[in-house]
């Protein structure tokens, strides 16, 4: 069987991506002109979403090596391509650093001086250490990313099994590192928006969302490629069923974590914690909160439950887009209330100011995906597990 992927992803993808990126960038620029503070928060949402997909995809690559899964081997390249945005993360963080004062209350010197609790947190929440930590995350992610990609692409040349072994070792080290960096990244960038609030499960919460986003983007792109005939004909229902099940399962995991956090803080009813939920319950934020429950969990759960949905490519495509949007909404729900609360609004804001940011994300990923797919094979053609993966049956 000829494994080499001859068909090349059309240049249109790049072009459309570029157009989207330009439109998005213009809108983002306008958004910054119109309302700088609000735009910074929107930017943070966008940034966290990019991290979710990038790190979620890298996590999936590591996961495959870690558990020795076969079925996902033909798709591994897709995750690898998606995680290729990791080197760009350091560039994309610049606006956040510029907007520190607007975003993070703990950067206000005078506020910290008069607040005993913030004063107590100063050894952790101060700008220098914040930069250092961000730097550490990026370096660590970048190094692991390079490691995984190098080994994986080098294997395409000679199919040496040593690369699989190396990546397996790498993935065992990456697992704890991934969990810790992701946790502290979420704490730094999102939880510290409300510096008084804390929750020990926060890292796991973001991790759950990340993995959902990773699987959803993988599913979306695999389905699109399959429908346009880029994938090997042996990739069939059983593969997509597995993918859908994983997406479904991790989405339940997300709901479980979200519920755990909610019920514990709701039940204990300590004002130091509940104010965070109250901010998401005031005014029309209430409807966003309830909407998140239904949009992120209840409806996808019911829709993805039957087997037939998970083997139908069109439905699977809709559901993966749905879950990506849900993850975006989740991040919006995590980040935006800080802004509306500060601005004295009693409800969510959504308007043209927000529209540019998703376009930038889509554009960026389209361009990067096309570029990477030009350089590399769409499948790890000489991976020793590939044959077993292609012939995978339930």
């Amino acid at each position: 069987m000829e494994l080499q992927n001859k068909k090349e992803i059309s240049g249109k993808v790049s072009k459309i991506g570029f157009i989207l990126l330009i439109i998005g960038a213009v809108l983002v620029g306008a958004s910054f002109m119109a309302n700088k503070e609000r735009a910074f928060f929107d930017y943070l949402i966008m940034y966290m979403f990019i991290i979710s997909i990038a790190l979620g995809s890298l996590g999936l690559v590591a996961l495959e090596y870690l558990v020795g899964a076969n079925w996902s081997t033909p798709f591994r390249r897709i995750s690898e391509f998606l995680s290729s945005i990791i080197p760009l993360l350091i560039l994309l963080v610049i606006p956040i650093i510029l907007g520190m004062h607007d975003l993070y209350h703990w950067t206000h010197k005078e506020a910290v001086e008069t607040d005993a609790i913030l004063k107590g947190k100063e050894p952790y929440l101060n700008t220098q250490f914040f930069y250092i930590r961000l730097g550490i995350y990026f370096v660590v992610w970048f190094l692991f990313f390079i490691g995984f990609i190098k080994n994986s692409t080098n294997q395409d040349k000679d199919g040496n099994v040593i690369y699989t072994k190396r990546n397996t070792t790498l993935s065992t080290i990456f697992a704890p590192v991934f969990m810790i960096t992701l946790t502290f990244c979420a704490i730094d960038l999102m939880m510290s928006l409300e510096p008084h609030w804390y929750s020990t499960i926060y890292g796991v919460y973001y991790f759950a969302g990340t993995i959902v986003a990773g699987f959803a983007s993988l599913t979306l792109i695999s389905v699109l490629l399959k429908q346009n005939g880029y994938l090997d004909p042996r990739i069939g229902n059983d593969h997509f069923y597995s993918m859908g099940t994983m997406m479904f399962g991790f989405n339940i995991f997300w709901a479980y974590i979200a519920f755990s956090q909610l019920v514990l803080q709701w039940y204990a009813d300590i004002p130091e914690e509940t104010f965070w939920y109250m901010m998401r319950w005031e005014g029309s934020w209430k409807y966003v909160s309830i909407g998140l429950l239904f949009f992120h969990f209840v409806l996808p759960f019911l829709i993805l439950l039957p087997r037939s949905v998970k083997t139908n490519l069109n439905r699977l495509k809709v559901m993966s887009i749905w879950l990506l949007v849900a993850h975006y909404l989740d991040l919006y729900w995590l980040i935006m209330p800080t802004y509306t609360h500060k601005a004295g609004l009693h409800g969510p804001v959504f308007g043209w100011n927000e529209l540019g940011f998703p376009l930038v994300i889509i554009g960026l990923f389209m361009i990067i995906f096309r570029r990477r797919s030009m350089k590399n094979n769409l499948m790890p053609v000489k991976d020793p597990k590939l044959e077993a993966g292609l012939n995978f049956h339930l």
Binding site: L262, D269, L305, P306
Partner: protein, 401 residues
């Protein structure tokens, strides 16, 4: 006796086929054994392609791809599970809503009596419980049609082989295309290692479709149901009230009505010390007075809605158990106490308010004094209410005006 039982056991133990039902000479099926999974898949494909419907494959474990080879429809078990799981969800939510939201409210940290977050764990558990139990029930009873202990296959060499290491296929004689010799040739040509005939057992001649609807099984079910009900009844109404260890219940104190060795008269309950009165005690000066004097007592309360409602409430609480809700002497005590006379008699109708008040206060015959339970004003209110009852029970047409 014991020897007899031991002998029975020995006999059963030696006999290799405890339910040796008579085999009829009717052929139940033609069966063939194969050695490898590839062969059996091939055989199943051949048989289903040849248009047989009444056939089955027996393998020591589920063989992949067999469902397709046999052209079986996908199982619908999942839908049952989903529907029954949903029943569990609704049951749990309804239960919590009724029990804590309506019937018995608990104030816990000022939380709503019925709320979403705290209902989730129990709802979840019951959903799972319903789904799990019913899935297994439906699987066994409806889909697998078990238990079926007199399946003609059982105890045949064929069955013994297929539960260990061989793969078997058989075509039932009920199939419309059944032709014994043709099938035997087909099996042999497929490379079967052993082709055999399976004879029906006598018991099976009356066709059993779903064993769960058999009378015998239903009888067992009813028996189990009744047994469970009886046990549950006794557990809930008797067993849990048994106190094998009355460690905290028995305490060194005298309960009401109990005897006591401390006092000479042996009564645990004491009279007040002579010459003393309890706080707030008001003597009733008509005690022991003749009726002629008591008659003169007048009801100090005015007749208005408030008094009558108070009277009704007190009457219903204290008087109605014996005198009945309408004073007709229809006691609710079911003979545990002699029924009192009706309050609607000519005699009582002619009494003054004072007479009635006097009897409530002092008691009469079996009736004890209610002075301690009912305050003075309330006693008078009861008298008003009795009057109202008397009038309503002996109403004249003129009362309608």
């Amino acid at each position: 006796m014991i020897k007899k039982i031991v002998n029975i056991f020995k006999k059963v133990n030696e006999d290799q086929n405890p339910w040796k039902d008579e085999k009829s000479d009717k052929v139940y099926a033609v069966a063939a054994l194969f050695n490898t999974p590839d062969e059996i898949i091939h055989a199943a494909e051949k048989v289903s392609n040849s248009g047989y419907n009444d056939f089955d494959v027996n393998t020591p474990y589920p063989v992949h791809g067999m469902d397709d080879a046999m052209k079986l429809k996908p199982t619908r078990l999942g839908w049952f599970s989903f529907a029954l799981g949903l029943t569990g969800t609704l049951t749990a939510l309804g239960m919590i809503f009724y029990m804590n939201g309506i019937d018995y409210n608990n104030i816990i940290g000022g939380k709503p009596f019925f709320n979403f977050p705290s209902s989730v764990p129990v709802t979840f558990a019951l959903t799972i419980l319903f789904t799990g139990l019913t899935t297994v029930g439906v699987l066994i009873a409806l889909f697998s049609k078990l238990p079926w202990l007199n399946n003609p296959l059982l105890d045949s060499e064929y069955s013994k082989a297929t539960s260990q290491d061989k793969f078997g296929i058989y075509i039932k004689s009920t199939d419309s295309k059944f032709n014994q010799s043709e099938i035997e040739t087909m099996f042999s040509s497929l490379g079967s290692s052993a082709v055999s005939l399976i004879y029906d057992s006598k018991v099976n001649e009356k066709k059993i479709k779903t064993p769960i609807f058999e009378t015998g099984f239903i009888k067992i079910l009813i028996g189990v149901g009744v047994g469970t009900a009886v046990i549950t009844y006794f557990t809930l109404n008797w067993v849990i009230f048994q106190m094998p260890f009355d460690w905290m219940v028995i305490q060194p104190k005298v309960l009401p009505q109990e005897k006591s060795k401390i006092f000479a008269d042996g009564f645990g309950m004491r009279e007040p010390v002579p010459g003393t009165v309890a706080r707030g005690f008001m003597p009733y000066e008509y005690k022991g007075m003749p009726d002629s004097l008591v008659k003169l007592l007048a009801n100090p309360l005015p007749v208005n809605e408030k008094t009558l409602l108070t009277g009704q409430k007190r009457y219903d609480t204290y008087c109605s158990p014996c005198h009945g809700n309408y004073g007709k002497g229809d006691s609710r005590l079911r003979g545990q106490f002699p029924n009192p006379p009706t309050l609607m008699s000519e005699k009582v109708l002619n009494w003054t308010d004072g007479n009635i008040y006097h009897i409530i206060t002092n008691g009469q015959n079996v009736m004890a004094s209610y002075a301690k339970q009912i305050s003075r004003d309330d006693r008078w209110a009861i008298v008003h209410y009795i009057r109202a009852l008397q009038r309503s029970q002996n109403a004249k047409d003129s009362d309608l005006n």
